[in-house]
Each structure stands twice: as structure tokens, then as C-alpha cells.
């Protein structure tokens, strides 16, 4: 298409106005339809806080507990030296024990029906308190 065709890409303004007026001369939406749509939307989104609260409850306790324990491990083991950090505490296998391991352990606790991960959090906590030599769980 060359430049001369550009003017053909528009319609006379008077025709455009008539096209718009013609199309817009349509029935308007009645309040009943508005209410139906908006009531449906309110009911739909009303599920949201309950869903979000359930997710928060599922994550809060194991995450909070694990994070607190590993933070304590951090403080204690940094004073003892990095060699005292057991490989068993490197939950995510990154080569260091940090807050990411707390999250990994919390996720494991959430998903682990056998309770092994939760027990591991507890064991880690005892070691922090007792300052025992590191040992691995069976």
C-alpha cells in the first residue's frame, strides 16, 4: 500500500459519527443485570480471605518454629566456628546453613506425614541448647 492509500484508510468524519450513533442506539443494561454480575463477583471473591487465611495458618507455625531454631543455630555455631555446623543441618544442600534451610525444613515438615522433618526441627533445637557435637539423624 503506497502513501496515496493512506487517505483511503479513513472514512468521512460525518459517516464515522453516524456509524457510532447508529451502534450506540442500543438498549442499555438494566440494573438487574448489573446486580447479577456484581453479586456473582462479590460471592466469588468472598472465598479469598478464607483461602488465604488457611494458607497462612498452614505455613505460619512450622515456618516460624523452624526459622527461630535455625536463627539460634546461626548465632551459636558462628561463635563456635563454621566447622561445627553439621552437614545434616544443610537441608537444601547449599553447603551452608542459613535461613533458606529453615524454609526448606518447614516445607518438609508441612509435607511430611511421618513426622520425621518435624522431629528433625526438634532435634536441631535440642542441639542448639545443649551445644552437643553435631550428629546426623538416622
Amino acid at each position: 500500500m503506497d502513501d496515496n492509500d493512506q487517505e483511503l484508510e479513513t472514512l468521512p468524519p460525518a459517516l464515522v459519527s453516524r456509524l457510532k450513533a447508529h451502534d450506540r442506539a442500543q438498549p442499555i443494561v438494566d440494573p438487574r443485570t448489573d446486580r447479577a454480575v456484581l453479586d456473582a463477583a462479590r460471592a466469588y471473591f468472598a472465598q479469598r480471605p478464607a483461602m488465604m487465611a488457611r494458607h497462612r495458618r498452614r505455613f505460619a507455625m512450622p515456618l516460624g518454629a523452624a526459622a527461630a531454631v535455625l536463627l539460634a543455630v546461626f548465632v551459636v555455631t558462628r561463635s563456635l566456628g563454621p566447622e561445627s555446623v553439621a552437614l545434616a543441618d544443610d537441608v537444601d544442600g547449599s553447603g551452608r546453613v542459613d535461613i533458606l534451610d529453615a524454609f526448606a525444613l518447614a516445607r518438609a515438615a508441612r509435607d511430611d506425614a511421618s513426622g520425621v522433618a518435624a522431629a528433625r526441627i526438634e532435634e536441631l533445637g535440642y542441639r542448639v541448647v545443649a551445644l552437643d557435637a553435631p550428629r546426623s539423624l538416622p
Binding site: 459517516l15 456509524l19 438498549p27 443485570t33 448489573d34 456473582a40 466469588y44 479469598r48
Partner: protein
């Protein structure tokens, strides 16, 4: 509703994605009121019936609602919301007509295009538009009535931009040459 909500569609969609129940419902209401008339006009073009158009309107916004959590994974706007709403409104309208025809025992014709059935007292504009092919009529309407850009029309119709340009070019030429339009506009 209070004063005009100046938030963009992108902001409102984001709130619908992650906001709490109250915020999301308010944001959705703004989106609905902002785009309701456009959706109804589109539905009306395909149904030629007010009640069926209202059904299609509700279906269109029910579709949009389900895009958001909890049922949906959320929506990311990559173009204007109208380019997403148009094909949904069109499809909902065609479905509504199909169901209505089945209900009254009429043959289940596939209506995949803008109907061209001007009434006996059709205005010249109706007749001129009816004379266009459905594809050209659709592009002209989206461009000059709904003010979509050519790129947006391509997205809404899911066709290449070149196809939109070609259809529009030919439609404009036909309308300019139409004696009814010439008479309508005068000398």
C-alpha cells in the same frame, strides 16, 4: 459508586489477582462498568436480540471473573482489556443465539459471522454495512465504532495485522463508493 475510578485496567486487574475480597470486588466492579457497554454492543451485533445480548454480557464477565483466583491463576494484560473481551463477547453471543434457536426448534445454523439481515425499514447505513462481507463489516465496526487500533483488531480477531489492513482497505473503498452512503452524506 463514588467518584470516577482513575486506576488503569492493569492496576485493577492486578488487584483482582491478589487483593483481598473487598478490594478485588471493587476493582472488578470498576472493570465491569468501564467495559460493560462495549461488551453489550458487541453482543448485540451478533444476537440482534436484547435479552440474548444481556445473557452474553453476563457470560462474558463470568468468564473474566474465572480468570482470577481462587479458580483461575490470574490474568496478565498484554494488550487492552477490550481485545480480550471482544472474542469472548462474540463467542458468548453466538452461543446464546445457537441455544435459543435450538430451544425454539429452528435448525442449528452455525453463526460465525455478523448477521446481515437488515429490517424492512433498514437505514441506509444498515444496508451499506450489510452489503459488506462479514469480515470487512467486523473490521470496520471495530475500527470506527469501537476505536480499536489495527494491531488491537488483529489481536481481538486473532488474525495477522496484514489481514486486518487488507480487509479495512477494501471495506473503506466499498463504503466510499456506495451510493447509499454518498446520498446520506450529500454533496
Amino acid at each position: 459508586m463514588g467518584p470516577t475510578d482513575r486506576r488503569s485496567d492493569e492496576e485493577l486487574v492486578a488487584i483482582c489477582n491478589v487483593g483481598d475480597a473487598h478490594e478485588a470486588a471493587r476493582a472488578f466492579e470498576t472493570l465491569y462498568r468501564r467495559h460493560r457497554d462495549f461488551v453489550l454492543r458487541v453482543a448485540r451485533r451478533f444476537t440482534r436480540d436484547r435479552e440474548l445480548a444481556l445473557d452474553a454480557l453476563q457470560e462474558t464477565f463470568a468468564y473474566l471473573l474465572r480468570k482470577f483466583p481462587p479458580a483461575g491463576e490470574g490474568l496478565t494484560l498484554t494488550a487492552r482489556l477490550s481485545t480480550l473481551l471482544y472474542p469472548v463477547a462474540k463467542s458468548s453471543a453466538i452461543d446464546a443465539v445457537r441455544k435459543a434457536r435450538r430451544y425454539v426448534g429452528v435448525g442449528d445454523e452455525v453463526l460465525a459471522e455478523l448477521p446481515a439481515e437488515p429490517a424492512a425499514e433498514a437505514q441506509p447505513i444498515d444496508a451499506a454495512l450489510a452489503a459488506l462481507s462479514p469480515e470487512r463489516r467486523e473490521v470496520v465496526t471495530l475500527r470506527f465504532v469501537d476505536d480499536l487500533s489495527l494491531a488491537e483488531i488483529a489481536i481481538a480477531l486473532d488474525v495477522p495485522l496484514g489481514t486486518v489492513k487488507s480487509r479495512l482497505h477494501l471495506a473503506i473503498r466499498e463504503l466510499r463508493d456506495d451510493s447509499r452512503i454518498k446520498d446520506l452524506l450529500g454533496p
